[in-house]
């Protein structure tokens, strides 16, 4: 499969004319794009060709489908550098070409049509450079893969599997903090969460959020990057257990 990205001009022109083109963002075909640009191809071919990537939609279990999609996208596009992978032209280009049908079906709720602001938020980068990589429906799949993939594990997607539940929320919460730029810190965090889950403890949204917040708090007096993964994991587990205890007390 060829990869296509939008030219700068095409990207900005599409962004500018969302209102005019709104009706087309609810159609199954992207042929309108070529007509909109008067027959000129708004896409440029990326120099690499990859295996065909099919993204899954499962209305009954989208969480599981998203997990598969993360692995599918990252496994096939692992060769991208971070610089290439933060380029809006690539992801918006793919959303308007190869993954057009996925975008339309994935985001269509109960037969409703897209509003102008939904198109702006879902098809384009509308949340700032960094947050958009965690929110854009295609870009976030790659970046979650990149942030959790570990080739040194027997299952290199072991940490990715943690995002099988509550993906959107957990992805956004964890990676909003600057400390998540250090992959060792992310590894320690997710390993701690997985250990609790494997022990039969439920890691609620509250516990996840508070632990992420806790790490940010202690980063004021500790240089988190200084710790080995296991050292940091012990600190995180201590906090998670404390939160779990409080949660269980409140539930009694």
């Amino acid at each position: 499969m060829k990869l296509y990205y939008l030219t700068d001009e095409a990207l900005e022109t599409l962004r500018l004319n969302i209102k005019t083109n709104l009706k087309y963002y609810n159609s199954s075909s992207n042929d309108w794009i070529y007509n909109f640009f008067d027959g000129t191809n708004p896409f440029q071919e990326f120099r690499y060709e990859v295996n065909r990537i099919t993204l899954k939609i499962d209305q009954n279990n989208q969480a599981s489908a998203d997990l598969e999609n993360i692995k599918n996208i990252y496994e096939n596009l692992k060769f991208l550098t971070e610089e290439q992978a933060c380029d809006e032209r690539l992801w918006v280009g793919l959303a308007h070409s190869e993954f057009w049908e996925y975008m339309i079906e994935r985001n269509r709720h109960n037969g409703k049509t897209f509003t102008e602001s939904e198109v702006k938020n879902k098809f384009f980068f509308n949340y700032g450079k960094r947050k958009s990589l965690l929110v854009h429906p295609i870009a976030k799949l790659w970046w979650t893969g990149r942030n959790t993939y570990d080739e040194n594990r027997e299952n290199p997607y072991e940490l990715t599997d943690f995002f099988g539940t509550n993906y959107y929320h957990n992805n956004l919460i964890l990676f909003q903090y600057n400390y998540s730029n250090n992959k060792n810190i992310v590894t320690a965090f997710i390993e701690a969460m997985l250990e609790m889950q494997n022990n039969g403890d439920k890691v609620s949204t509250h516990i996840f959020d508070e632990t992420a917040k806790y790490l940010n708090l202690i980063s004021g007096i500790y240089l988190l990057d200084y710790f080995e993964i296991d050292e940091l994991k012990i600190k995180i587990l201590r906090k998670v257990k404390e939160l779990l205890l409080n949660e269980n007390k409140n539930n009694d």
């Binding site: 005019t20 240089l223 990057d225 200084y226």
Partner: protein, 285 residues
């Protein structure tokens, strides 16, 4: 991590704080570009005997942190040496980069005290844990931009796009993304497309369209908070060019004015346009 206004539960040696008297920890950073990497040169000065002894006894270390949030990159370099050079793959850095320096406890330190503590902490002892920050050096924020090009040779920071919504709307400028968008209505865009294919008319295009746009942008910079634009590629290209003259952008605008700056950045577009039109006229004769 921005540390200037943070409060700590024990004294930390840092600028803008009187936790310590007569001590300092400063770092100077230089960056050189190599073929595939950026070379960071760190040169630190530490003026505190107790902390120096901790480092020499391997109970503390100097740590440099390089962070590029846009590319989810963060890396640390640990050392006991006050001078060190380190290379980072250039693919890992682009846009805004923060560089911080720390002195960190390598092991737990019982009863940490220092003769340079402020009198408020005189005779106080603190338990420090491995990983605790003992000193904070300067923080640097820099912008790394690759493939910077001169404005007059390649209008790569400008993008001319069409707005289908109204046939007779006025030209608009949008500075919210990496390129400065010049938005034309349908008719103007069609005509621009026809004329821009003629190389002899390019100077006139610069004068009529790019120059007024750039002037408006510089006026915006002059009257707004420039931090709004620091992450934008177009802003960093303009700043990079001006910095070659040893001026900061606002200093240059203050001294010479926005109209002079706009003309210099575009290599005197009015002059070039007039010359090219005269030349076209002569050819037609």
């Amino acid at each position: 991590m921005n540390t200037k206004n943070r409060h700590f539960p024990y004294p930390i040696l840092r600028e803008y704080s009187d936790d310590y008297i007569n001590s300092y920890f400063k770092t100077e950073i230089k960056i050189k570009e190599d073929i595939n990497s950026f070379i960071f040169e760190f040169n630190s000065e530490l003026n505190d005997e107790t902390i120096t002894n901790l480092i020499n006894k391997e109970k503390a270390e100097i740590v440099y942190q390089i962070e590029c949030p846009q590319l989810f990159f963060r890396y640390i370099i640990k050392t006991r040496s006050l001078e060190i050079e380190f290379a980072i793959d250039s693919k890992k850095l682009n846009g805004s980069v923060k560089v911080s320096s720390y002195i960190v406890a390598k092991d737990d330190i019982d009863d940490y005290t220092n003769i340079n503590f402020h009198t408020d902490f005189e005779d106080s002892k603190f338990k420090l844990f491995r990983g605790n920050i003992i000193a904070l050096g300067n923080q640097y924020k820099l912008i790394i931009n690759k493939n910077l090009e001169k404005l007059s040779q390649n209008d790569s920071i400008f993008l001319i796009v069409r707005d289908d919504s109204s046939e007779r709307s006025a030209i608009k400028i949008d500075t919210d993304n990496d390129k400065i968008k010049i938005i034309l209505n349908n008719e103007d865009f069609k005509n621009y497309n026809i004329l821009s294919k003629r190389i002899d008319l390019l100077p006139s295009m610069h004068a009529m369209i790019i120059y007024p746009a750039l002037l408006q942008v510089l006026e915006k910079i002059r009257t707004s908070n420039i931090q709004e634009y620091e992450d934008m590629k177009w802003f960093n290209v303009i700043t990079y060019i001006i910095n070659k003259s040893d001026y900061e952008i606002l200093e240059y605008i203050e001294k010479y004015g926005t109209e002079v700056l706009a003309q210099k950045l575009l290599d005197f577009p009015i002059n070039r346009a007039l010359k090219s039109l005269v030349s076209i006229g002569e050819d037609e004769e």
